[in-house]
Symmetry: C2
Subunit: 204 residues, 2 copies
Amino acid sequence: MRTVDPAKHAAKRATIVDAAAGCFAEKGFERTTTADICRAAGISSGSLFHYFPNKRAMFTAIFTDDAAETAGRLETAAKADDQWEALLDVVTELAGQVAHPAVVRLVLEAAAQAARDDEFAELIRRNDGALRDGLAVLVERAADAGLIDPGVTARAAAGWVAGLIDAMILRASLDPDLDLPAEQAVLRTILVRFLRPVSPPDGA
Amino acid sequence: MRTVDPAKHAAKRATIVDAAAGCFAEKGFERTTTADICRAAGISSGSLFHYFPNKRAMFTAIFTDDAAETAGRLETAAKADDQWEALLDVVTELAGQVAHPAVVRLVLEAAAQAARDDEFAELIRRNDGALRDGLAVLVERAADAGLIDPGVTARAAAGWVAGLIDAMILRASLDPDLDLPAEQAVLRTILVRFLRPVSPPDGA
DNA sequence: GTCTATAGACGGATAGAC
DNA sequence: GTCTATCCGTCTATAGAC
């Protein structure tokens, strides 16, 4: 057997990705130096470039890793009994991430980078597409149960639900004193009025 | 009399701001070089730094200029007869800006920069605050005319109306083939359901 | 002669990659 | 730690308006 321990390799890789994410969130992609990442991860420059071919790869790794996490969340939600409640829960959880300033900054940085890096934009679009698809499934199933206004298509609804989560992220970035629970309540109100039937079968 | 012609100075300054905006939209703030801006504006480095003390000032100028424009829009809307229609019109106009990819990119770049430049963040927050204030005025007046659900406060509503515009911008950045008129129609639907009284006095 | 506007070269610093 | 490349912003010099 070679001296390569896959688990150890993965762990070290994760350490670097974490350190890099912290740096990118704090200073942005361009202004983060590879030396910064070395310092944050406690490793040498030589070691860093053994795990990643260049700075850009460290950045993209953050978002490929995150996509897997979101996919898991959506999968769990799809198994719930009440798909409408599951939808609200997923939105609340995703919107709740704005409590972490680093997440907000990484999203903004990703959006800015995607605007001028086609390959990276493709990755971000894939992630967003997967999110919208997952949300559309929840909407469609809730609609089958009569919990959604038939006048709204699942795809259009999913797109704007994702948009509302994005809006929450931008609001959080603009207002450091954002009252998260209050905003989530308004977000919930918007979702209910936007999506639920005008005369709901139950009183939610 | 000094040899300063204010009109000529302002015109050249505007030329530089335009050129810089194009560069920043295309390459981002960090990756845009002052040489890029010189090339785009057709001037020399010496001339460029005669008009602006540094690169950052060229960036901020874009957004101070834009704030004045938005303020004018809001002022005009406040004079309209039907404040509800005026609100919808302003939102449609602002959301319609996403038809220009450069605008979308500049907004994203501004958001990313604001995350790590406190002084610039202050400027962006001021602009956003002014927008929200202007929208709140429209909402409040529409409410006085009985056109808004009394259960929604003007401030909270204005915040989320601004948020919906932001959402449109982010959607546009993710989807280059966005069907703008269709999305604007959905946006309108969300606004109506979110804000209008459950039993509206007229049939809008 | 004083001020504005412009040009263009260059210094010092710093980055990524290995 | 090195090597190469690049960038910002300063600095000097020149032209013209008053």
